[in-house]
């Protein structure tokens, strides 16, 4: 088959065709059937990644806009409110429909789900729904609820805004989680407004995540560049030792390294004790559970990811050019800046973007050494998944993080490939 590529770019085999019929087997002995056979070899890995990761992420993206709770939990109410224009009080039929829906939901155990969903719309609606639902179910008359019945159970049923909010969130898709993830919300009249200052959380969270990632990246570059330069220009007999000193932290798990920083930085940690013992300080320096600790530990964890690609590029920079520039009269600093640094740009680009991408998604290190105001987006994604059970919001935050990472990765692809790093 003419499309079959000879592996490894070697010249076509001059092997007698009886041993290696062209196209049916490669020279090295695997994969009959050309492209189809080669595809077959990749298939198991592709399938595993599709099932193990791509499908889960697809579902995750869908979850950030999915809104099944109200549409399926309060079907009668949603049907009635669909004909209502959203101003003033809803028709009386809405009250009896809601009474019926909540009674059914309480009976089938779905009340909590509806209550939790409506609580995201407005805090306090959880108790509103739970109380109304359980009392209606306990009443047990089966008679249609009148507006007066519901208002007697909770005065909020007499307010148009309650009904307007339920109507707004009755679609099977919602943008509410994305709005919430950007500190926005839909007002009862349909406008998009900014949430109260006291409840704003996420814009500053994204800003903080970007700021920490950027600071760590700049620190890694500023520290890593000279180190990579020294390693690349050191005599060859030193190279294995110097590289080992970079590779040991690279291979040591993030968790272990973050733990080591706790031992060093905490209030009664090694650094404070040592400084006290030396008589340099009296109390304790605030080194732990703050931004300083996060920056130090994350720089420590990510520095090898900067140094290794820089070293890889610097190793290939011929020294002749810098020497030539010096011989032509450039002072050493100028020769370095104008001739050497430009040749290392691919390494700078690869290291910078790699560190930045990794920093954006960091969880373990800030969670262990940072304070409450140093947590990054990943922390809140985990929090809303495990504790607040606001899965839609967790998914919206995650999708935004994923998009940010994807944009950076696209930029990464333009400058250098991942393979240049490893």
């Amino acid at each position: 088959m003419p499309t079959t590529r000879v592996a490894f770019g070697a010249e076509p085999a001059s092997v007698p065709s009886s041993f290696s019929p062209p196209g049916s087997r490669s020279l090295l002995g695997w994969a009959g059937g050309g492209t189809a056979g080669a595809l077959g070899l990749t298939l198991p890995a592709i399938l595993l990644i599709l099932v193990g990761l791509v499908a889960p992420i697809g579902l995750f993206l869908v979850r950030s806009v999915a809104n099944p709770e109200i549409a399926t939990g309060l079907p009668r109410t949603v049907a009635v409110l669909g004909d209502w224009d959203g101003t003033g009080m809803p028709p009386e039929a809405a009250f009896s429909a809601l009474g019926e829906d909540l009674r059914v939901a309480a009976g089938s155990g779905r009340l909590g789900e509806i209550a939790r969903r409506l609580n995201f719309v407005s805090p306090g609606y959880r108790t509103l729904v739970m109380r109304t639902g359980t009392r209606l179910a306990a009443g047990g008359t089966g008679a249609a609820a009148s507006p007066r019945d519901l208002v007697a159970l909770d005065a909020r049923w007499g307010e148009p805004v309650t009904w307007a909010r339920i109507r707004q969130e009755s679609g099977s898709l919602t943008g509410a989680y994305y709005l919430a993830a950007l500190d926005l919300r839909r007002e009862p009249d349909g406008r998009i407004g900014v949430v109260e200052e006291a409840n704003r959380l996420f814009l500053s969270l994204f800003a903080r995540t970007l700021l920490i990632s950027l600071s760590v990246t700049v620190l890694c570059l500023a520290i890593g560049y000279p180190v990579a330069y020294v390693i690349a220009s050191a005599p060859a007999r030193w190279t294995p030792l110097l590289l080992t000193l970079i590779l040991v932290p690279f291979w040591t798990s993030t968790l272990v390294r973050s733990t080591a920083w706790i031992v060093l930085l905490q209030g009664e940690g090694l650094i404070n004790r040592t400084l006290r013992w030396l008589g340099l300080i009296e109390g304790s320096l605030p080194l732990f559970a703050n931004r300083f600790a996060v920056l130090v530990a994350m720089t420590h964890v990510l520095l090898p990811y900067m140094i290794l690609p820089l070293y890889g590029v610097m190793k290939g920079v011929p020294p002749d050019l810098v020497r030539a520039a010096s011989n032509l009269g450039a002072d050493p600093w100028r020769a370095f800046r104008r001739v050497y640094v430009p040749q290392t740009l691919p390494g700078i680009a690869a290291g910078t973007l790699l560190v930045f991408i990794l920093a954006l998604g960091y969880y373990v290190t800030p969670a262990l050494v940072g304070g409450a105001s140093d947590q990054m987006v990943s922390y809140f994604i985990a929090l809303y998944t495990n504790q607040s059970l606001n899965w839609g919001l967790a998914s919206a935050l995650g999708t935004i993080l994923l998009v940010l990472t994807g944009l950076l990765y696209a930029a990464f692809g333009r400058f250098g490939s991942l393979r240049s790093v490893t």
Binding site: V15, G29, A31, Y229, L255, L264, G361
Partner: protein, 269 residues
């Protein structure tokens, strides 16, 4: 002063700085090792006396033993599965038309760039639906997707450095293609395949976050168990666990380096 002298002084300063940074990289890891051998309870220098009591504690507590066992089960499972699939994929990719190959390898590299929390949360929801949250199968599946890119890169770089001469010679001597593959090509690729397996194990052995979402009480891995402990209070037992993890990572690193050296020798031969 001559400009050269200024530059020499500068070069010396850069070297001193580099040594300081190398210290910054390595010392925090080394500093916890002696503390794990303390005879006391506090994490202080000078260490009040050395003992193995915390290692004894570590190796006799059922929750730590279970976590070691779990880490080995999940790590070895991940290494085997990711190496098998990653090696096949690397062989296949090398024979695909460049565009298709780039597309598929892009897909297979994907797990490397997705933030790990998103992998954890996304897998949690989907695997819950499949019914494999809180099982070894779920953890191994997630870890394998994360490990495949590393295996792929290791085997592809071994493939890239493979000279076709040996295979050609074997074929010239009359070996049928499948035998050339099994007896010549695979042994030549073996260092790359094995270091892929080590990477696969290391990916699994390092993971805290995905395990946090996918492991039930019976699948708590060593890093996960350690993370729980670190959040409460760092005891010398935790540092014993950390030291064992460091030793393990160093073994993995040395093995990978030895394999790389071996494949360089094989290529030079």
């Amino acid at each position: 002063m001559r400009p050269d002298a200024v530059f020499d002084a500068g070069a010396l300063a850069v070297r001193v700085f580099a040594v300081a940074v190398l210290g910054f990289l390595v010392l925090p890891i080394l500093v916890i090792v002696p503390l794990s051998f303390t005879a006391g309870v506090e994490l202080v220098y000078p260490v009040p006396g050395f003992s193995l009591r915390w290692y004894d504690d570590f190796l006799t507590r059922p929750e730590w033993l279970l976590s070691i066992e779990n880490s080995l089960i999940v790590g070895i499972g991940t290494a085997i599965l990711s190496t098998a699939l990653g090696t096949l994929a690397a062989l296949g990719l090398s024979r695909l038309p460049p565009r298709l190959g780039a597309l598929l390898s892009g897909l297979m590299i994907l797990p490397m760039v997705v933030p790990v929390v998103i992998i954890g949360v996304a897998c949690f929801f989907f695997y819950a639906w499949l019914g494999i949250v809180g099982s070894y199968a779920g953890l191994i599946l997630a870890h394998t997707t994360m490990a495949i890119p590393f295996v792929l890169i290791a085997v592809r770089s071994a493939l890239a450095g493979l000279s076709p001469d040996y295979a050609r010679a074997a074929a010239g001597l009359g070996a049928p293609p499948h035998r050339v593959f099994v007896r010549v090509t695979v042994p030549l690729l073996m260092p790359g395949i094995l270091s892929g397996a080590l990477f696969g194990f290391a990916v699994s052995f390092d993971d805290v976050v995905v395990a946090m979402f996918l492991s039930g009480p019976q699948q708590i891995t060593l890093p996960r168990q350690m993370f729980n402990g670190v959040r409460e209070n760092i005891s010398p037992t935790i540092l014993a666990a950390a030291t064992i993890m460091v030793v393990f990572s160093l073994l993995l690193m040395s093995a990978t380096n030895a394999l790389a050296a071996r494949s360089r020798r094989m290529r030079a031969a």
